[in-house]
């Protein structure tokens, strides 16, 4: 098991190098001079030149990339933000709790609503509950988050005045963004639970369980659900990873100061170290979440546990 974890972490290295290289190349070819963006358009030419020299922006591409990797690996330093002058790591770590909270809330909502709805839909296939749930799941899946976000704001913040429309410092303020972000995940979790349950319910061992006179609640809750849950866990893991890295739109609409917004601002102001650091951080988070999900399988599914050994 430990060997497996170690191997997986080792595999992170080429992934991160690849990500770093891609971001570096993209930024290198993005129009816009960071020196001018950071110093403002009133800055003198000497100041611009000085900045470019200091930050090594005049070096050849590969030298810049090499320097970045060298510093990051050997000194653990991924630079300071051009605009705030603070260490990139520190900036990300102040923003990350917001994103984590937002994603975690969204995920909890998705699981709490999605799994029960999926189960009921599967047991009572083609009932009115199933139909309505599937219609809502379809809507939730196709509704873009910025549109849903605005509708939620209009209804709950403007019309009813129950909830604040932006910010993320109080529990009340967290409700709307979390719901908006959760909408797609709820739909996906519901649909996945439903189809996976439908498959399992028809399996032989479920018939056997019923035939031996097992209570229906145990047939569904233990025999069926446990087996049906594996693809759902995979989906939840992937979704959570995606939520952590992809809450950019939600964060912008609801003015949540998370990693997504930090990155968007950094891109707009050509804050290279911030963008690189942010993307690397997201890549690491995503990989770690995936690793955790894989490990979680072992606890849910004894068959996989045997394989890992």
């Amino acid at each position: 098991m430990l060997k497996y974890i170690f191997r997986r972490i080792l595999m992170l290295i080429p992934v991160l190098l690849g990500v770093a290289f891609c971001v570096f190349t993209l930024l290198y070819f993005t129009p816009g001079d960071p020196a001018r963006m950071v110093l403002g358009d009133l800055a003198t030419d000497e100041a611009i030149k000085e900045f470019r020299d200091k930050e090594g922006l005049n070096d050849p591409f590969l030298v810049q990339f090499g320097n970045y990797i060298y510093k990051a690996v050997v000194k653990g330093d991924i630079g300071r933000s051009y605009s705030s002058k603070r260490p990139v790591m520190q900036e990300i770590l102040t923003a990350f709790p917001y994103t984590l909270k937002l994603s975690a809330f969204a995920m909890i909502i998705a699981i709490l609503i999605g799994i029960p709805c999926g189960i009921i839909s599967a047991i009572k296939q083609y009932s009115w509950f199933d139909t309505i749930t599937m219609i809502f799941a379809m809507i939730g899946l196709s509704m873009p988050v910025f549109w849903l976000g605005l509708l939620l704001i209009l209804f709950f913040a403007v019309r009813l005045r129950w909830l604040p429309s932006s910010g993320f410092s109080t529990f009340k303020a967290m409700i709307l963004p979390s719901v908006a972000l959760a909408a797609q995940s709820i739909s996906m979790v519901t649909r996945m639970t439903r189809s996976s349950m439908l498959e399992v319910i028809r399996a032989d061992y479920i018939r056997t369980a019923r035939a031996k006179g097992q209570k229906e609640s145990i047939v569904i809750g233990v025999h069926a659900l446990r087996n049906a849950l594996i693809p759902v866990v995979t989906l939840c893991g992937l979704q959570f990873g995606q939520l952590l890295s992809g809450a950019i739109l939600t964060e912008s609409i609801f003015a949540v100061p998370g990693v997504g917004r930090l990155m968007v601002n950094a891109i707009m102001s050509r804050d290279y170290p911030m963008v690189q650091g942010g993307v690397l951080f997201i890549a690491i988070t995503f990989s770690i979440v995936n690793l955790l999900v894989d490990l979680l399988y072992a606890y849910i599914d004894p068959r996989i546990k045997a394989e890992l050994k």
Binding site: G32, R36, M37, G40, A43, A95, V158, R161, A255, G258
Partner: protein, 501 residues
């Protein structure tokens, strides 16, 4: 059931009392568009940061909302010569760390602007040679050359006085640990969300009337309005054209508007044919119905400029000039004189992604088409746009220019002086350069007014750009908030704000 009555009554009483304790409001909540970039007064040149710094720091001189100057940290001043200003510093002014303000802090603050840390604002500070300390409360500012606008620039954020010890102790992290003499001291800053400042009880001037100031950054204009409507914030700015009516119609809210010294213009690349011909520029200017373009796009906000120096700025002759009138015949005549057939002109109108600019460009495109000029609108993201403008290969472009210092020199020099970093028209004219130099070398008075009058008329004839829009500073304010006045330079102050009982 009966035995529960006392409990109920007690509960109701508790609720009644707890809600009445809300009456004494002691926190002002404000919605701004963006977060500050730093709280170091020389580390930036943007409005949200200037605003944040203005609460923590004081400048040597203060700007009245009508554009005149009054004493700030400097009790009085005297111009010893054209380029040596003696300033007497107020005694007993305390920094937030308890230290007293001394001449050394003033010297340190102003000279620091000319180090690399101040590259954002060198344009204001570059003519300062050094600051001489006469005694603990007297300094003399020595300039490299005569530059009267420099004195007005001291009201800009760069002129904020910092505490020498605190800056040296904090090093690179000073932007998060500011120490000033202002009416509010730093409490916390949740980046991207809000910053909170607290009243400084040892403030030398009139102390703030509320205890806590929270400024939230809400980039979406609609969200700012919603938060204002629901009472979550007390003051919100800036207000966009679309939001105006909603705030205006709400009986709990009021709008505050003031003309802003900013100009949106369509610049020509004057080094590229056919725009190198003054008659072509004049023809295009005559061809465009700028007054109605402005009206259609901004729907009652702001106005069409008649001069490059905005009307709220001193020596502006904007109010005396006639309104721009569209004259297609005149345009055709000018094209003929220049020997240019307009139907052979093809040009690209560049703009960044601001919706109003794209709207204006679209109308401009249609009006140019009327004489056969074919144009294409090119929209770019801000960073890429600036980068391309620097290359000077463009035809025409839409851009804005705002003054943060109350002097007409800044309205013209940054845009049209030879080799100015933000001179994207590429205009270079010894005659105008000379006028600008003369304007800077004269003290305020009739002679200086004359220089700027001639300058404005000259630019209107040369037309390196077509003027499109003078903006307004607009804030939405809850009616219970009193004593707030929108600042014409958008550095709004809360020093005199209080809540109505």
């Amino acid at each position: 059931m009966k035995k529960f009555y006392p409990v109920f009554i007690a509960l109701i009483l508790v609720m009644a009392f707890s809600s009445s304790s809300f009456a004494a409001k002691d926190t002002l909540v404000v919605a701004d568009q963006y977060d500050p970039t730093t709280l170091d007064p020389i580390g930036h040149n943007d409005y949200p940061t200037s605003r944040a710094c203005s609460h923590i720091y004081d400048t040597l001189i203060f700007l009245n909302t009508d554009g005149t100057l009054r004493p700030g940290l400097a009790e009085s001043w005297e111009f010893l010569t054209d380029k040596d200003y003696k300033m007497v510093i107020r005694k007993g002014v305390k920094f937030h760390n308890g230290e007293e303000l001394k001449a050394e802090d003033v010297k340190f603050s102003l000279e620091r602007a000319n180090t690399p840390a101040g590259s954002h604002i060198h344009t204001y500070s570059q003519d300062l040679d050094y600051v001489e300390i006469v005694d603990d409360y007297t300094v003399i500012l020595h300039l490299k050359k005569v530059n009267y606008p420099f004195f007005s620039s001291l009201v800009h954020s760069w002129g904020n006085i910092v505490n020498k010890k605190a800056v040296e102790a904090a090093g690179d992290d000073y932007g998060m640990n500011p120490v000033g003499t202002g009416p509010f001291k730093f409490k916390e800053w949740a980046k991207g969300d809000h910053y909170t400042f607290e009243r400084f009880d040892d403030y030398w001037g009139e102390k703030a009337k509320f205890k806590t100031l929270t400024v939230r950054s809400i980039p979406e204009p609609t969200n700012r309005t919603i938060e204002l409507e629901t009472g979550a914030v007390d003051i919100a700015y800036p207000v966009t054209t679309i939001e105006l009516a909603r705030i205006d119609e709400n009986p709990e809210l009021e709008l505050q508007r003031k003309p802003l010294p900013s100009t949106t213009y369509m610049g020509f690349n004057v080094n590229k044919a056919p725009f190198n011909d003054i008659r072509v520029r004049q023809a295009i200017d005559a061809l465009l119905d700028t007054v109605n373009i402005q009206r259609a796009v901004f729907r009652g906000v702001g106005k069409t400029p008649r001069s490059l120096i905005p009307s709220a700025t001193k020596y502006s002759i904007d109010g005396e000039l006639p309104a721009h009138v569209r004259d297609v015949e005149k345009a055709k005549k000018l094209f003929a004189e220049a020997g240019v057939d307009p139907s052979t002109i093809k040009l690209i109108i560049r703009s960044n992604e601001r919706k109003e600019r794209i709207d204006m460009a679209t109308i401009i495109q249609a009006q140019l088409m009327e004489v056969g000029i074919q144009s294409e609108i090119m929209q770019q993201e801000w960073g890429a746009y600036l980068n391309d403008l620097q290359k000077k290969t463009h035809d025409v472009f839409l851009l804005g220019w705002g003054l943060s210092v109350p002097d007409p020199d800044y309205a013209v020099a940054g845009l049209l002086e030879s080799n100015a970093g933000t001179n994207y028209t590429g205009y270079s004219d010894p005659k105008l350069d000379e006028m600008l130099a003369k304007g800077r070398s004269l003290p305020d008075g009739e002679e200086r007014a004359k220089v700027y009058r001639e300058m404005q008329l000259y630019i209107n004839e040369q037309l390196p750009m077509v003027y499109l829009h003078n903006d307004e500073a607009i804030a939405g304010v809850r009616k219970i908030v009193k004593g707030f006045e929108v600042d014409p330079f958008e550095v709004h102050s809360f020093r005199h704000v209080y809540f109505e009982e």
